[in-house]
C-alpha cells in the first residue's frame, strides 16, 4: 500500500471573477517511509495539494488516498494518523513553548511523555526556552516547535508545507537533518519547498509549476535527464558577461548561478573554442568555461519553458 496516492486531482479557485486552476491534473504517489518533496515556487499549487491530502480541502475532480483511506470519505481516520505543519506559523503565540506542546499532545489524545523519544532531539534544543511565549521565539525556533507539535502524536505520515520558507540557511540545514532522522524512524514525510537546493535531500521529488507537475523522479535521475551540455562561465565583469552571452547567436539560455553563469547552447555539439573565442572578442579578461553537471534548479528552469 502506498502512503499517499493522488489520481488526476483538479482544483480551481475563483479569484476576482475568473477561475484560476491551482491544481491541474496532478497524480503521484509516495511510498511508505519515503521522503518526498514537492518543489516549486509560490503559487504553484503546493499548499492546495497539501490541504486536499490533509482532508482540509475538497478537490474538484480526482481521487486521493492517505494510507489507503479516501480523503473525502475517510477524513476522520486520516486525521487520526497524520501530522500536519501548515505553511504559516500556526501555534499559539500567547502560550509558552511547553503549553503549546502540551496542548497539541492532548488534542491528539496523547501526552508529551508517551512520545517524548520521537521529539526528544528537536525538543531538547527548545527546552531552555520552555517558559517563553511562542510569539517571542526566533524563526528557526518556531519551526522546531511547530515540528515538535506536529510530531507529538507519532503520526504515520507527516505533511510539512514549506517548513523552511523565510528561515535562514543554518536553520534550514538543521531542519533537514531533523527530517532525515525522522525518516530513519519510519515516518513517511511529504514536504514542500520553494528552495531548489533542498530538492537533493529528498528521496524523490515532484517539480511543480502553475498547478502542473513538470516531472517526478529521484533528484539524481532528474539531473541525469538534462539533455544539454551545461557550461559554467565566469569572467571579471559578470554583468557584461551575462549580456554578452545572451547575445551570442548560439545561446539557448543563460542565467546567473552564483559565481558562474549557466549557459546552454542551441547546437549542443558546438566546439567549445567557438565560445571561448566569442568571449575573448567581447573583451573579457580571465574568462573560464567548463562543462558542469546540472543542478535541480537548471532542470526546473529547462522544464519551465
Amino acid at each position: 500500500m502506498k502512503a499517499v496516492e493522488l489520481e488526476n486531482i483538479f482544483k480551481s479557485y475563483p479569484i476576482k471573477k475568473t477561475s484560476v486552476q491551482v491544481v491541474d491534473d496532478v497524480s503521484f504517489s509516495v511510498d511508505d517511509g519515503e521522503l518526498f518533496g514537492l518543489i516549486g515556487p509560490d503559487g504553484a499549487g503546493k499548499t492546495s495539494i497539501f490541504r486536499i491530502l490533509t482532508t482540509l480541502l475538497l478537490a474538484d475532480k480526482g481521487n486521493a488516498k492517505v494510507l489507503g483511506y479516501d480523503v473525502v470519505k475517510d477524513w476522520k481516520s486520516i486525521r487520526n494518523i497524520i501530522g500536519y505543519m501548515p505553511g504559516r506559523f500556526s501555534l499559539y503565540q500567547d502560550l509558552t513553548v511547553e503549553e503549546n506542546l502540551e496542548f497539541f499532545a492532548t488534542i491528539f489524545n496523547t501526552t508529551i511523555r508517551e512520545n517524548y523519544k520521537l521529539v526528544e532531539d528537536i525538543y531538547k534544543q527548545l527546552e531552555p526556552f520552555k517558559t517563553r511565549r511562542a510569539g517571542k521565539l526566533s524563526g528557526g525556533m518556531k519551526q522546531k516547535l511547530a515540528l515538535s507539535c506536529a510530531l507529538i502524536h507519532k503520526p504515520k505520515v507527516l505533511f510539512l508545507d514549506e517548513p523552511t520558507t523565510g528561515v535562514d540557511p543554518v536553520s534550514r540545514k538543521e531542519f533537514w537533518e531533523m527530517l532525515k532522522r525522522l525518516k530513519s524512524q519510519g515516518i513517511t514525510i511529504l514536504v514542500s519547498t520553494p528552495y531548489m537546493d533542498e530538492a537533493k535531500l529528498c528521496d524523490r521529488i515532484a517539480l511543480i509549476q502553475n498547478g502542473k507537475i513538470l516531472k517526478i523522479d529521484t533528484p539524481q535521475n532528474i539531473m541525469d535527464s538534462f539533455d544539454k551540455n551545461l557550461f559554467a562561465v565566469r569572467s571579471e565583469n559578470m554583468f557584461k558577461l551575462l549580456n554578452d552571452l545572451r547575445t551570442f547567436n548560439n545561446t539557448e539560455s543563460c542565467f546567473a548561478f552564483g559565481e558562474f553563469h549557466h549557459l546552454t547552447l542551441k547546437d549542443n555539439d558546438i566546439n567549445i573554442s567557438d565560445l571561448e573565442k566569442y568571449i575573448a572578442q567581447s573583451g573579457h579578461l580571465n574568462a573560464t568555461i567548463k562543462i558542469i553537471k546540472p543542478e535541480i534548479e537548471d532542470c526546473f528552469m529547462q522544464l519551465m519553458k
Partner: protein
C-alpha cells in the same frame, strides 16, 4: 474529556493574558452598569424652576411647598412675571416653569377642576419629559391626598412616598438593558471573535487535522465565554441590588434560568457569525452593527418600542434582547412568575434552536 478540559484551559490562558480582552470582559459590564444606573438620577437633581403663582392661595402654596421640598427642584424666587420666565428659559437659567391660574383654589372647590400649566425646556426632550413627569406626579400625589381627606376628614395628613421613585427610575430601565447588551456582547461578539481568530492565525487548520471532533473544538471555545457571562450576571445582579438599590421582586431562580437561556441564544448567534466570517475584523463589525445596534435601538431599552413606526416594531421582534429585557423587567421589578413570561422564554428558545441549527449546518469540517 481531557481534550475538552485542556482546550478550555488554553482558552482561559488566551483571555487572561490579553489585558484588553480582560478589560472588555470584566470591566466593561461594571462600568456600563454604573454609568447607566447613576446617569439619569444625577441629571434631575436640584433643577432650577420658576413658579408663577397667579392665585396665591392655600392650595397653590401647599403644592409649591411640596415641589420645593422634593430634592429635585430649586425654585428661583426672583422670577415673578411671565416676561421674566421667557428670559430665564432663553438664558437657560430654568428648565421648567409652573404657572397656576387665577383663583386656583376656588375653581378647584367649585368646579372640581383647575388649570396648572407646566412649561418645560424641550431642547433635551428626555429631560423635559422626566421633569414634567416629576411635577405631575407631585401634583397627582397632592390630589390623592385631598381625595383621601374628603372621604376620611379626620385622618392625619401623613407623608406619602412618591409613586415612581425617581432615584430608582434610571436603574429600573438601565439594568435590564445593560444585562441584555453585555451578555450579547460577551457571548456573541467575543465568542465569534475567538473562533475566527483561530481561522485567521491558521491554528484552525491544525485543529481540524487533529482527531479532536470539530464540534468539540467549538464547544470548548464557547465554554469559557459561558462561564464569564455567568460571572457577569452575578456581578451585575450584586451591583444592582447593593449599589443601585434595585430589588429582585420575583424568583431569583427564574431570573437566572431565563438568563442562561438568553446566554445560549447569544452564544449560538456568536457561532453563526463565526461561520460566516473569516477575519476578526469582520466578526467584530458584524457583531457591532448586526447585534449591538439593534439591541440599543430596537430592544426597547433606549427608545420605547410602542412609539416606533410599525416596520421597526416588526423588526424589533427578531431582536432577542427585546424579549430578554421584557423578562428581566418582569421578574426583577414587577415580580411576575413563569406563567406570565413563558411566551417570551419560548421565543428565546426557538431563536436559539434556529441559530444553532443554521450554524451547525454551516459549520465546515474543512477549510
Amino acid at each position: 474529556m481531557k481534550q475538552l478540559l485542556t482546550f478550555v484551559k488554553k482558552e482561559f490562558h488566551h483571555i487572561l493574558r490579553d489585558k484588553r480582552s480582560m478589560l472588555v470582559l470584566i470591566g466593561l459590564p461594571i462600568v456600563q452598569l454604573l454609568i447607566f444606573g447613576f446617569a439619569i438620577t444625577n441629571e434631575v437633581r436640584n433643577t432650577n424652576i420658576a413658579v408663577l403663582d397667579n392665585s396665591k392661595d392655600e392650595t397653590t402654596q401647599i403644592i409649591i411647598t411640596k415641589i420645593e421640598s422634593s430634592q429635585y427642584f430649586d425654585i428661583d424666587r426672583t422670577i415673578s412675571t411671565s416676561d421674566q420666565i421667557e428670559k430665564a428659559f432663553k438664558t437657560g437659567k430654568i428648565k421648567v416653569a409652573v404657572i397656576f391660574q387665577q383663583n386656583f383654589q376656588e375653581e378647584l372647590a367649585h368646579f372640581n377642576k383647575a388649570q396648572l400649566q407646566i412649561i418645560a425646556d424641550a431642547t433635551d426632550p428626555n429631560q423635559a419629559t422626566t421633569l414634567t413627569n416629576y411635577i405631575s406626579s407631585i401634583v397627582v400625589d397632592y390630589q390623592n391626598q385631598v381625595n383621601q381627606q374628603n372621604k376620611l376628614p379626620y385622618t392625619i395628613n401623613t407623608e406619602t412616598r412618591m409613586l415612581y421613585n425617581p432615584q430608582l427610575k434610571g436603574a429600573y430601565t438601565s439594568v435590564p438593558g445593560v444585562m441584555g447588551m453585555i451578555l450579547l456582547l460577551i457571548s456573541a461578539m467575543m465568542t465569534s471573535i475567538a473562533i475566527v481568530k483561530e481561522k485567521e492565525l491558521g491554528t484552525m487548520e491544525i485543529l481540524l487535522v487533529s482527531p479532536m471532533k470539530p464540534r468539540l473544538v467549538v464547544v470548548s471555545k464557547v465554554i469559557p465565554y459561558f462561564i464569564i457571562s455567568l460571572i457577569n450576571v452575578a456581578t451585575i445582579l450584586i451591583l444592582s441590588v447593593f449599589v443601585l438599590g434595585l430589588p429582585i421582586q420575583g424568583s431569583l431562580l427564574l431570573l437566572i434560568g431565563s438568563t442562561v437561556i438568553y446566554i445560549f441564544c447569544a452564544l449560538s448567534l456568536g457561532l453563526l457569525i463565526s461561520t460566516i466570517t473569516d477575519t476578526q475584523q469582520a466578526a467584530m463589525l458584524i457583531s457591532l452593527l448586526g447585534l449591538m445596534l439593534p439591541v440599543v435601538m430596537l430592544s426597547g431599552y433606549a427608545f420605547p418600542i410602542a412609539n416606533m413606526p410599525v416596520i421597526l416594531q416588526v423588526l424589533s421582534t427578531i431582536v432577542p434582547a427585546k424579549w430578554y429585557i421584557i423578562i428581566v423587567k418582569g421578574v426583577m421589578i414587577k415580580g411576575i412568575d413563569i406563567t406570565q413570561i413563558w411566551k417570551e422564554l419560548l421565543i428565546l428558545v426557538i431563536m436559539t434552536v434556529i441559530f444553532l441549527s443554521i450554524s451547525i449546518k454551516r459549520f465546515k469540517i474543512r477549510l
